[in-house]
């Protein structure tokens, strides 16, 4: 909320600035109007590394009466781009995505495009042949992409295009991204919205608006119906409309960084959600309160309607899974395992059903929503208390706790209450255990779709990835130096290992470990991996190894034995966005070495402790001791929160730098003289 106030205040200031006179209130760029001077813009102030720069990007949406008895959206866009070098040629390939549902599809019209080049001090232009040069590729039953490319593109060309998209899908009011892969000098979005249609406006990002404006006026609407009756009927009426305008100037290009859940959270963007129809239309809430939305979802064929039906068709499968099982948790587990192991998830980006649960059941495949709703239905059929939960994954972006904006959600899981415990289930992920969710689900707020619309919180800080490693090195009776390695990786690392072993086998897994060791290790044997099929817990890795012994007087041993950080995970020296890690970390490493006969310690790394802040949100401890001919090391890395601000980045990077340094240190043993 506070950001909104900020924006309005900001608009106020800037507006008063213009009245004083120097700053432009419009972009000079207009389709078809080009001058030699337009080629001489100075871009260096914005981004000297850019491959192309967007001189102007102006979009407008309005809502008009149509001839189908209702309203349509009309979106027009004008964009002018200067191509600075060959890497910027990509900007000359334009793709426009359109939505389709049955026979009703969004229409692309009035495509115009032209390339301008400077030739002998004059501007030459080459137009796109929009009749033959705009291709149509039907991607699937809901998506169409229209494409074209500009003629005569060279380094230094200015390209511009304009088009209109007409849509009958009122929910699809085009959002506007002010920030994209190229820097933008002027990005503007206009929206004309009649007061009888209510949309919620959602803004995000760190870039300030340069201009922001809203004006009311009266407009006339003409709605005709040429379809439902033989003679066409039509209706004309006046209604108040609001003209909104948002402008940003000199917006830098987006930058991708590691440890960012999704760049989508950081783009300067405005989007819209249809919330209600008002007078003179029949007043209807499209977006209600959370309980209203959940109630609707539960009754909708595209979500919960099947959950409370009789669903007798599943009895042949469900009954054998629960017969003779008394504990509710065990019943739930049997059903969960069945769904996970017999269904294939074909899309992890869906919160609603595209088909009936019965069809999903037959086809053995579905989206994450379909699989977990089917799971919920099967659990309910077995009289287990189960409800669907909707959420947005981290890679999809933040959601709003307050607004029931369903577009912001992309994932469905299932909540079970069994034996007085709450258990969260996701049967769409192969090899994910009962009661486990992927880190991608831990993205803050979520909602149980029940009558109360119970809010939930999945915080990444609550997810712990705990790993422990034990290494024991000694000399055997043959005088060889041998070691034992035992490790319990974290749950998610175990999940990755399971995936790998499923694909490539155990041999390959240990082969890779063997290869990763430097020349210090000559042999790996007695290797095994336990708990591979106990999907609820971590795996356990064991192996023994033999060390290479040069007949030298000095033995150098890196006690980390290939574990630990060889590289700093925070590579870049700069940071633009906050750091978001998937979970908190607790990694412990225990090492002991019995000093081989005839040798003595010449040098040991020193004990060390590093903390990231006063709260100890990041801690690294490295304790080393020698007693009775045994060198032992206990090392531990703890990271207790997942979110770090940009200004904490340098500390975080230095923290890992210290870890990398410490873990590279060696033990030196010398032959007794």
């Amino acid at each position: 909320m506070s950001s909104k106030t900020y924006c309005i205040l900001f608009a106020f200031c800037t507006l008063s600035l213009f009245s004083a006179g120097q700053q432009p209130t419009q972009t000079d760029a207009k389709y078809g109007k080009i001058a030699v001077a337009d080629f001489n813009i100075n871009l260096n102030s914005l981004d000297s590394n850019a491959d192309a720069v967007v001189i102007a990007d102006v979009g407008s949406s309005q809502i008009l009466g149509n001839s189908k008895g209702w309203f349509s959206l009309e979106f027009t866009r004008f964009r002018r781009v200067k191509i600075l070098n060959k890497s910027g040629y990509d900007a000359a390939n334009v793709e426009i995505y359109l939505y389709k549902d049955g026979t009703d599809e969004e229409q692309l019209n009035k495509v115009k495009a032209v390339t301008y080049n400077m030739e002998n001090g004059k501007v030459s232009e080459t137009r796109l042949d929009s009749r033959s040069g705009v291709y149509k590729d039907v991607l699937n039953s809901h998506e169409i992409v229209r494409k074209f490319t500009f003629p005569n593109v060279r380094e230094g060309s200015i390209i511009e295009y304009e088009y209109t998209v007409t849509s009958d899908f009122l929910f699809n009011l085009q959002p506007w991204g002010f920030q994209r892969e190229y820097p933008v000098l002027w990005s503007e979005y206009n929206l004309t919205c009649p007061e009888f249609l209510g949309y919620v406006f959602l803004t995000q990002g760190y870039q300030p608006f340069y201009l922001q404006d809203k004006k009311y006026r009266n407009a006339r609407f003409h709605v005709a119906d040429n379809y439902t009756s033989n003679r066409s009927e039509s209706l004309d009426f006046d209604a108040q409309v609001a003209d909104y305008r948002w402008v940003m100037r000199n917006v830098p290009a987006l930058k991708e960084e590691s440890f960012t859940s999704t760049i989508n959270n950081h783009i300067a963007k405005i989007s819209f959600q249809l919330s209600e129809y008002k007078y003179p239309l029949q007043t209807t809430k499209v977006m209600g309160t959370w309980p209203e939305v959940c109630d609707k979802l539960l009754k909708s064929d595209q979500f919960g309607a099947d959950l409370n039906r009789n669903n007798g068709w599943m009895s042949d499968v469900v009954k054998p899974l629960i017969n003779g099982v008394s504990s509710e948790t065990e019943k739930a587990k049997n059903i969960f395992n069945y769904v996970r192991d017999n269904f294939t998830c074909t899309s992890y980006n869906r919160w609603n059903l595209d088909e009936s649960l019965k069809n999903i059941f037959k086809k053995k495949k579905g989206s994450v929503a379909e699989i977990n709703l089917l799971l919920t239905a099967m659990l309910k059929y077995a009289d287990i208390n189960a409800d669907p939960v909707i959420l947005s994954t981290r890679s999809h972006g933040y959601t709003y706790a307050l607004y029931p904006v369903l577009d912001r959600f992309n994932y469905v899981i299932c909540m079970v209450k069994a034996d007085r415990k709450k258990i969260f289930l996701d049967a769409s992920q192969p090899r994910l255990g009962f009661g486990r969710l992927t880190p991608d689900c831990y993205n803050g707020n979520a909602r149980v779709v029940d009558m109360k619309a119970t809010p939930l919180e999945f915080s990444a800080d609550s997810l712990l990835e705990k790993k422990s490693t034990y290494v024991f090195i000694t000399q055997n009776d043959k005088g060889e130096i041998v070691g034992k390695f035992t490790q319990t990786p974290g749950y998610y690392e175990s999940h990755t290992i399971r995936e790998r072993i499923k694909e490539k086998g155990k041999d390959d897994f240990f082969q890779t470990i063997r290869k990763a060791y430097g020349p210090g290790i000559s042999e790996l044997f007695n290797s095994k991996i336990d708990q591979l099929d106990s999907l609820e817990t971590s795996v356990k890795i064991f192996y023994e190894f033999k060390m290479n012994q040069d007949s030298n007087d000095i033995i150098y041993v890196n006690p980390m034995m290939g574990e630990g950080y060889k590289q700093n995970p925070f590579k870049s020296a700069e940071r633009f966005y906050p750091v978001e890690m998937p979970y908190v970390i607790d990694e412990s490493y225990n090492f002991s070495l019995i000093i081989p006969g005839g040798y003595q310690i010449d040098e040991l790394p020193k004990s060390e402790k590093v903390v990231i802040d006063e709260e100890g949100d990041g801690q690294f401890e490295y304790l080393i001791a020698e007693s009775g001919g045994v060198i032992s090391i206990r090392a531990r890395i703890l990271i207790k929160r997942t979110f770090f601000q940009q200004d904490e980045y340098e500390i975080l990077r230095e923290f890992f730098n210290r870890i990398v340094k410490k873990q590279s240190e060696q033990i030196v043993l010398k032959k007794k003289s």
Partner: protein, 643 residues
């Protein structure tokens, strides 16, 4: 069309009956030897390819595959493309359980139909049909029967019954069915014996079959697939595409067809003609002339691929390219050809099978084996090669995309195979000079200057021309093999010539490059060029070992270390020579300076499998030598205990 279809179905049905006994695909019937290493077992595959006439052919493809476990899923579904030249007439699918009992049949509405437009294309007309039963109770069996109609006879399918590792084959058969008067051609690999030939109602049926092929495992650096499993390539004699016909009895014949497709498409608009003369008239050095015109073409065009119908084979004409400023490889090559022609320089449209280390064409088997076009320009006994889809390559240089292979030069009646430039040990070099200073805090300041030449330059060429400076900086910040480091500055300058050289200058600060423990300092003198090649030790090698590209790396480095240290251990110089290459290094401590030298030569060639352990040892030794460390001890502390 109806009648032959019906007939063929009967035959298939009969065949499967006779083969699988009571029509049962029970897993228990798979011979034990076929289960070893098998993620999937091809129970039965029968492909019948019938040339109806020179315009059209029909293919029936019937296959039954048992998916043994999850990792065999890649064989579990149906996916095939169609376009203006190829229709999928019908597909049927059946799912069986492990006992060979039918679980269900595919419904046509379950078939997905999606765009097949290639990622590199702006537009083409290909679409994909795909289906999967999404069954997960392993093992299970799928059966599909597909009928395809080809509206051309330019390509015949190849038969490779075992096309991937971890797949065994119980029975597979390919039949070529032709009218009696029609001759097809084939080339077989690893197929023992001769095909069976019979005549059926005026058609000649030629049939190959294999049975009981156990699954094999892929090995790194193996020969190409067709050299290790049975494989038969087919090609037409007379063929037709759209309204163009030809025959493939010889490369000359095939060349005549390609020539006809592009004939008369070399007319330039007047403004370009004028420009050509403006740029090149009066220049006497032909190579210079070519270079100027090539650079003009590069500056005024870019690669955009639009492949629709015959456009997949026929270039857009030169006027189109001149007006639009873009085209695909065919169009751009033809455009460049037209420009050179205008300047009075004859050149040749040349077909090539592009791709880094791609399988060589079968040079004694004239057929459509190509996927790319380049231009060759003979200049007094020499040839200037032009890659016309690149806006950045220097005139006369072909990158690893098309070098070191045979290509088909198209000339009206004298088309012939020629060899593209060979870049070897002496061309593909990397010469690096590093000067570095290690300070008291174990931080290393590094200045490196590296010259990458020919194929060693290719990746960097792509990088500097197709990535933004921002992205290059980001890559450099993330991809170097150091714990924590900063890129203070970087620079790339390219010397454009027929053997281009990229000079890279890096200025880096590496934190804790040396690791210090008490009085000792461990430092790896090989700062930037460490080999990562390692072969698995315990494997029993089955196939020959193949190395494609040759190269030579020479590194020299000087590292200044803080005062007051003396050497405890300095790696001994290493020299290794083998059939696969050569390696040597040396480390010398001169006062407070470490002087490092390293040489690697990689040879190309094919080596027998029994030499595998030599290869393992060779690369392991290099790996180890590249990571050896200098151990230094503080001068006056050698007697102190550190704890």
């Amino acid at each position: 069309m109806k009648k032959p279809c019906l007939l063929i179905y009967l035959i298939i049905f009969f065949d499967s009956l006779s083969f699988a006994g009571d029509g049962d695909y029970a897993v228990s019937k798979i011979p034990q030897v076929l289960l070893k290493n098998a993620d999937a077992v091809v129970r039965l595959q029968e492909v019948r390819f019938q040339v109806n006439n020179t315009r059209e052919a029909t293919e029936w493809n019937h296959y039954v595959i048992t998916i043994m476990k999850e990792s065999g899923e890649t064989s579990s579904g149906f996916a095939d493309y169609y376009d203006k030249m190829r229709d999928i007439l019908s597909v049927e699918g059946i799912l069986y359980d492990s006992n060979g009992r039918i679980i269900k049949k595919m419904k046509s509405k379950d078939m997905e139909d999606i765009s097949g437009v290639d990622d590199n294309s702006l537009m083409d007309d290909s679409r994909v049909k795909r289906h999967n039963f999404y069954y997960k109770a392993y093992p299970y069996t799928i059966e599909y029967t597909e009928v395809i109609r080809y509206r051309n006879t330019l390509f015949f399918p190849a038969w490779m019954p075992q096309n991937d590792e971890k797949i065994s084959v119980e029975f597979s058969q390919f039949s070529m069915i032709c009218p009696e008067e029609y001759k097809f051609r084939f080339r077989s690999f690893n197929y023992p014996g001769e095909p069976e030939v019979s005549t059926d109602k005026g058609k000649v049926v030629t049939r190959w079959s294999v049975h009981d092929l156990p699954a094999f495992l892929e090995e790194p650096n193996s020969p190409y697939q067709n050299e290790i499993t049975p494989c038969i390539y087919f090609a037409p004699t007379d063929f037709q595409v759209d309204n163009y016909s030809g025959n493939m009895n010889s490369w000359q014949d095939f060349g005549r067809f390609v020539y006809a497709l592009k004939q008369g498409r070399d007319v330039l608009p007047d403004n370009v003609k004028t420009k050509v003369h403006q740029l090149s008239d009066g220049i006497t050095d032909i190579k210079k002339k070519i270079q100027i015109l090539y650079e003009y073409m590069q500056k005024h065009t870019r690669y955009v691929s639009i492949q629709l119908g015959i456009g997949g084979w026929q270039p857009f004409d030169a006027t189109y390219v001149a007006n639009k400023g873009y085209g695909d490889c065919k169009a751009l090559t033809n455009y460049m050809y037209s420009i050179l022609k205008e300047a009075g320089i004859p050149s040749f449209y040349t077909l090539v099978k592009a791709g880094r280390n791609s399988r060589p064409i079968l040079d004694d088997f004239p057929s459509q084996q190509f996927n790319h076009v380049i231009l060759s320009v003979p200049v007094s006994g020499d040839t200037v090669w032009l890659e016309c889809t690149s806006q950045t390559l220097p005139s006369g240089y072909l990158s690893d995309f098309t070098c070191n292979r045979k290509a088909l030069l198209i000339n009206e009646n004298e088309s012939k195979l020629i060899h593209t430039p060979v870049y070897g040990l002496n061309e593909n070099t990397m010469i690096r000079k590093v000067s570095a200073v290690l300070d008291e805090n174990e931080t290393l300041k590094v200045k490196s200057v590296t010259d990458y030449r020919a194929m060693q330059e290719d990746k960097l060429h792509q990088m500097i021309h197709y990535l933004s400076k921002e992205k290059i900086k980001q890559n450099l910040r993330e991809q170097l093999d150091f714990g924590t480091y900063e890129v203070n500055s970087f620079d790339y300058t390219e010397e454009l010539s027929s053997l281009p050289v990229m000079q890279e200058t890096l200025d880096l600060t590496v934190s804790n490059y040396a690791s210090a423990t008490g009085k000792r300092l461990f430092i790896m003198p090989n700062i930037m060029t460490r080999s990562s090649r390692k072969f698995g030790m315990n494997e029993e090698r089955k196939y020959d070992i193949v190395f494609h590209a040759e190269y030579r790396d020479i590194d020299s480095a000087e590292i200044l270390i803080p005062d007051g240290y003396k050497a405890e251990s300095v790696p001994r110089p290493v020299t290794i020579e083998s059939k696969f290459g050569k390696y040597s290094n040396s480390v010398i401590l001169e006062g407070n300076k470490i002087v490092y030298y390293r040489l690697v030569e990689q040879y190309s060639g094919r080596f027998p499998a029994k030499e595998y352990t030599d290869a393992v040892r060779f690369y392991d030794n290099i790996y180890q030598a590249d990571r050896s460390k200098v151990v230094l001890v503080k001068n006056n502390s050698s007697d102190q205990k550190s704890f």
